[in-house]
């Protein structure tokens, strides 16, 4: 992946095309078309494992979107950044034992994390995500990306 071909702000939505782990794909579809692709890239990544590092390389700001399970009420939004990301639990159930937490820890050790990294998670429940939950998540991601672009003085909407 050539970093210079990709914009400095990236929204990386992690999941599977199929239920139940399809939050990332639903969020990506809800976000696509909201941003100038020259400024913000929205990607739906199917369980990327360590390839996530490749997708983050060269970015100034990365917003990660994924489903989480923390025991909070289903539909709760979680926003983490900085060292708070260390709170993501390594569960080793993804491809060859490399899930999101492991990949971020690996990138951190190698100095490969982007300068600005934000994580927005939606608490999963027993049922598939409802449309209003996806809309809530998409708005949070959109607001975060918009704030980043505003602070950089860059145009944002299509």
């Amino acid at each position: 992946m050539n970093a210079h071909l990709h914009p400095p702000v990236r929204i990386l939505c992690i999941g599977s095309p199929a239920e139940p782990d399809n939050l990332g794909f639903l969020a990506a579809h809800a976000l696509m078309g909201r941003f100038d692709p020259e400024q913000v890239e929205v990607l739906a990544l199917d369980r990327p494992g360590p390839r996530l590092i490749e997708h983050m390389r060269g970015a100034d700001t990365v917003i990660l979107v994924d489903a989480v399970i923390s025991g909070a009420a289903p539909g709760t939004l979680h926003t983490l950044e900085g060292r708070a990301l260390d709170g993501l639990v390594m569960h080793q159930t993804s491809t060859h034992g490399f899930g999101l937490a492991e990949t971020l820890a690996l990138a951190d050790r190698m100095g490969e994390l982007p300068p600005h990294l934000k994580f927005i998670g939606l608490e999963a429940g027993a049922q598939p995500f409802a449309a209003d939950e996806i809309a809530q998540l998409a708005k949070a991601v959109s607001d975060t990306a918009t704030a980043v672009l505003d602070s950089a003085g860059k145009p944002r909407q299509v």
Partner: protein, 421 residues
């Protein structure tokens, strides 16, 4: 075959009077039943369906499948299709081998509990590994449209021929990374690998004039040389009560498939630059120390780079990236060298081109009996009086060294030891 590619494993070990009385590597991932899913589906759906069996080696499943199906349909791939399939597969070897070396195996040999800890001390090594892995993914995307579960392959060839400009860009990336692949070989050869020679049969494909990837006969270090159609006559799959994965034996004996077996049997087919590198690295093959597999993987990464560069230098788009043929009934066989070893397929087609039956024998099934035999010998040599934690670490190292597709689970191998007087 119960097509499980990632799953949970456990090792049950019973020690009686200082000897191993029972050793069982249990795989209890539920059956995925892909072969039954295929029945009744069109043969044209098979490449996309079997790609879903594994996120690490989807190309292998696709290439063994199309080979078998095309043999029924009477399709003889053009040189362009053959070359692109080889290139496609080189990408998979590069990404899969690099993932295993850096994220799974190397931490064992350097005394780290995982790749994250290793990256703290060897960030440049892990970074190099990820760059190499990305190069493999880029090759797969070039022909497959995407690197995970690629969609570019079809029965008869590829859906489209990539543009020459895309090939030139990929070629430049690979040429720039070739020195890093070379450095990786030298780095793995310098690792403090255990000395543990064993007696086992190596089995791989063999094809005159090329290092085996997409085709060949089945050959072994004990003189076997058969067509892939005869596989089921020589190799027997059986259910083991403790595992949902089938065990495969060659006339009752365990055997090894994978990079070390391939290298041992095909040294003379390595590309010249890789052969020269092998001389320089100071290792000697054939080797029957299974821990040398990590060096074999690195050598195969280098060979795949050399091959991919050669194929891309000669690349020109074609107007006929695939061939078509009317469906017909028949039985066909396919075998290719997945990163972990021979992946054998057999299909029976109905007259309308639907799948009547399918059988898939993956390399992990073939290596499972070998892993158990290795564990028995290795743990005995290691010392059964050692603390359980040390035995667990050593057992994990032995298992991971084979790169089974249960690698993710064997990271947290459950070890049960019973000591009997």
């Amino acid at each position: 075959m119960l097509a499980r590619v990632e799953g949970e494993g456990a090792l049950d070990l019973s020690i009686e009077n200082g000897e191993i009385s029972e050793l069982r590597l249990r795989i209890f991932e539920p059956p995925r039943l892909f072969e039954k899913f295929l029945e009744g589906r069109s043969h044209l759906e098979v490449p996309d369906m079997v790609a879903r069996i594994c996120g690490i080696c989807p190309v292998a499943y696709q290439m063994s499948a199309v080979q078998a199906l095309e043999s029924i349909l009477g399709i003889e791939p053009t040189p362009w299709i053959r070359d692109m399939r080889r290139l496609f597969y080189c990408g998979e070897w590069i990404e899969s081998h690099s993932l295993h070396i850096h994220l799974l195996a190397a931490p064992d040999f350097l005394g780290f509990s995982n790749a994250i800890d290793m990256a703290g001390k060897y960030p440049d090594v892990v970074r190099r590994g990820l760059r190499i892995q990305e190069a493999g993914n880029a090759i797969i995307s070039f022909l497959g449209g995407r690197s995970v579960h690629p969609v570019g392959a079809r029965v008869g060839g590829f859906w489209h021929a990539p543009a020459a400009a895309a090939a030139a860009k990929l070629l430049a990336e690979l040429q720039a990374l070739l020195p890093e692949a070379e450095a990786l070989v030298l780095w793995t050869a310098a690792l403090p690998l255990p000395h543990a020679t064993q007696d086992f049969e190596c089995v791989s494909l063999g094809h005159a004039g090329e290092y085996p990837i997409t085709r060949g006969r089945i050959v072994s270090s004990r003189g076997l040389d058969i067509s892939i159609a005869a596989f089921a006559d020589e190799f027997q799959e059986s259910h083991a009560p403790h595992s949902t994965a089938l065990h495969c034996h060659h006339r009752g004996q365990d055997y090894l498939v994978g990079p070390l077996a391939r290298l041992n049997l095909n040294l003379d087919q390595l590309p010249a630059p890789t052969r020269a590198l092998l001389e320089r690295c100071g290792m000697r093959f054939p080797s029957f120390n299974v821990f040398h597999s990590i060096v074999a993987r690195a050598l195969e990464i280098h060979a795949a780079f050399v091959e991919a560069i050669r194929l891309l230098e000669a690349y020109a788009p074609t107007a006929t990236p695939y061939l078509e043929a009317a469906p017909r009934a028949g039985v066909g066989f396919g075998a290719s060298e997945a990163p972990r070893g021979i992946l054998w397929h057999r299909y029976e087609l109905n007259e309308d081109g639907s799948i009547a039956s399918a059988r898939i024998v993956p390399p992990t099934s073939q290596n499972q009996a070998r892993i158990e035999a290795d564990l028995r010998a290795s743990l005995h040599r290691f010392g059964l009086e050692q603390p359980e934690e040390k035995i667990r670490q050593h057992a994990e190292t032995v298992i991971r060294n084979y790169d089974p597709c249960i690698s993710c689970a064997t990271h947290f191998l459950k070890l049960s030891i019973k000591h009997k007087a």
